[in-house]
């Protein structure tokens, strides 16, 4: 493996790039594998304090970082049904946990693969939790989307300095 430093853009440009990638990758993952459409962007801060289903992962490599996704419980159920091709009434909590983890894994991996200044990365297994009053744990670039019946937000922190 090369020890060559990764040349990333300046912070504001990098944040803008990550934000654009989060939007395009989330939309692509939702449409391709969950058969769900993004209607429009939403307020990323609006989910704080609300009931949410959350999935988080840490990734190591060059660079390392963290990724977080949170969704309205109804959206988590709808996405699970879409992914598995079953009725929403058939969805179990275990399936929701697993499918939200898959979304977390896919969207993070897709964004990192598209970032351009990522040499390699290893995604840890995502952990899905539920909270009555969501509080973000990852401080990074956050984007939120309005889907049919609720919102979903994603947040990516890339730690170039700690790689």
């Amino acid at each position: 493996m090369s020890d060559t430093a990764i040349h990333e853009p300046a912070a504001p440009e990098m944040d803008a790039l990550i934000g654009a990638l989060l939007h395009s990758c989330s939309e692509h993952v939702l449409e391709t594998m969950f058969f769900a459409a993004v209607f429009e962007a939403a307020d990323p801060a609006a989910s704080t304090g609300c009931e949410r289903v959350t999935s988080r992962l840490h990734f190591s490599g060059k660079p390392s970082g963290d990724f977080e996704v949170d969704a309205d419980p109804g959206i988590a159920r709808a996405l699970t049904a879409g992914f598995l091709g079953i009725e929403e009434s058939e969805v179990t909590s275990a399936q929701e946990d697993e499918v939200m983890a898959e979304f977390c894994n896919m969207t993070c991996g897709s964004a990192l693969s598209s970032l351009g200044c990522v040499e390699y990365f290893n995604l840890q297994v995502p952990e899905t939790t539920r909270s009555e009053a969501f509080a973000p744990e990852v401080e990074g670039v956050r984007r939120a989307f309005l889907l049919d019946g609720g919102t979903l937000s994603v947040c990516l922190r890339v730690d170039f300095d700690r790689s």
């Binding site: 391709t32 594998m33 598995l84 399936q95 894994n105 991996g109 897709s110 040499e119 990365f121 995604l123």
Partner: protein
């Protein structure tokens, strides 16, 4: 020709999704075999006639890299096509898997058309 497909992924939901997309793609499958990690994948290969393998990379017990390495070291499975299905599309990862013996690489997210194209490519378009 209907295919015998081995899916190696630690996520039952992902294995279910792959079966669903295979059906949507129109690929004719005679039987699916499934494994939750590379070790189980090797056991399935030893016990069943497999036409193609679809495998994840990050798995517990035995990951995709070790699975493909051991599969290729086994004379009986040196030519069985392996398609990696992963979120990781970095050059580093793709090259590593190709060097180990994977002949196809499908980045998540993917749909029926991408899966069919990759299977057609590695098996030959006339596999049906």
């Amino acid at each position: 020709m209907a295919l015998q497909i081995l899916i190696v992924d630690d996520s039952p939901a992902m294995r279910s999704f792959i079966r669903r997309v295979m059906k949507l793609s129109g690929i004719e499958v005679e039987q699916y075999f499934e494994a939750g990690n590379g070790e189980e994948g090797l056991a399935q290969l030893a016990a069943n006639p497999i036409d193609a393998v679809l495998t994840d990379i990050n798995m517990p017990v035995m990951d995709g890299e070790e699975f493909v390495r051991k599969m290729r070291a086994d004379g009986a499975h040196q030519s069985t096509p392996v398609i990696v299905i992963s979120t990781d599309a970095t050059t580093h990862r793709i090259q590593t898997m190709q060097e180990l013996g994977a002949v196809g690489y499908l980045q998540k997210p993917f749909g029926p058309e991408q899966l069919r194209n990759e299977l057609d490519r590695v098996l030959g378009v006339g596999h049906e």
